[in-house]
Symmetry: C2
Subunit: 150 residues, 2 copies
């Protein structure tokens, strides 16, 4: 997207793609989020993390999800009426590490008008969160509410 | 669970259930999380939220997810080796509101030993986050890595 016009349901077509800004994550952010919401050794202590499945400090998957949302809301997914997810499928193929620079690329999968509510519909979006090496850290296929022009 | 013994894969049986502690959410928490990760009017401003789909201030779904994880890590899902989710299906049937008291009830759906790694397996857990009225605010069906006794 070269401009940041906000899109309504009828502007969306399957295959349309959007790219977010970037967010650099560091050890301080990882530990702060984990302390509040996911206080497990592999998210809190680089030394203790070495002997775990992660093999080193990794961000909570929910931290990756929250940063992804911040990037989408910050222009990565310019929907009129905001970004309201109802449900979705979420996976974390690789851990998010200190020093990773996250960016989200989203693609419209499908668009379906509501049968009962003429002012809205649902869109399925496939949102990939990658780091600077191109590794996919999170994949979220989400059903979002989209507004129609009235 | 009356005791807090940490469970390995071979301790888990489909149908086993676990209940977390409770977490009370308020407007201050909702706005703080939203400011950092999901700065949309319906998560930030009670007055502006009235004219949106939510009809009033609501927590970010990612905030509900993060609190759910905190409750699971804090004894709600006593797994040996910690709680490591790989993927899952997530939905938010109702908004989380200021004053809600969240609690998570989890049920083992299935348990599958790894074919290649004798020290672990996967379990499917169905985690329901409810408020004090029994409304389901979040449903997360997640594939978690579980350790085997070695």
């Amino acid at each position: 997207m070269s401009d940041k016009a906000l899109l309504h349901m009828d502007d969306l077509q399957p295959g349309m793609r959007f790219k977010s800004a970037e967010h650099a994550i560091d050890e301080t952010q990882i530990k702060a989020f984990a302390t509040q919401f996911d206080p497990q050794p592999f998210h809190l202590d680089a030394e203790a993390a070495k002997t775990t499945l992660f093999g080193g400090l990794a961000a909570s998957g929910w931290h990756t999800a929250a940063i992804t949302m911040r990037l989408l809301v910050g222009g990565g997914l310019p929907l009129a009426g905001g970004i309201i997810g109802a449900s979705g499928e979420l996976s974390w193929p690789k851990p998010t590490r200190p020093g990773d620079v996250l960016q989200v690329e989203s693609e419209v999968v499908s668009v379906t008008p509501s049968r009962s509510k003429p002012d809205r519909g649902m869109a399925v979006m496939r949102c990939e969160t990658r780091n600077q090496k191109g590794d996919v850290l999170q994949l979220f296929t989400v059903n979002v509410v989209v507004n129609r022009k009235v």
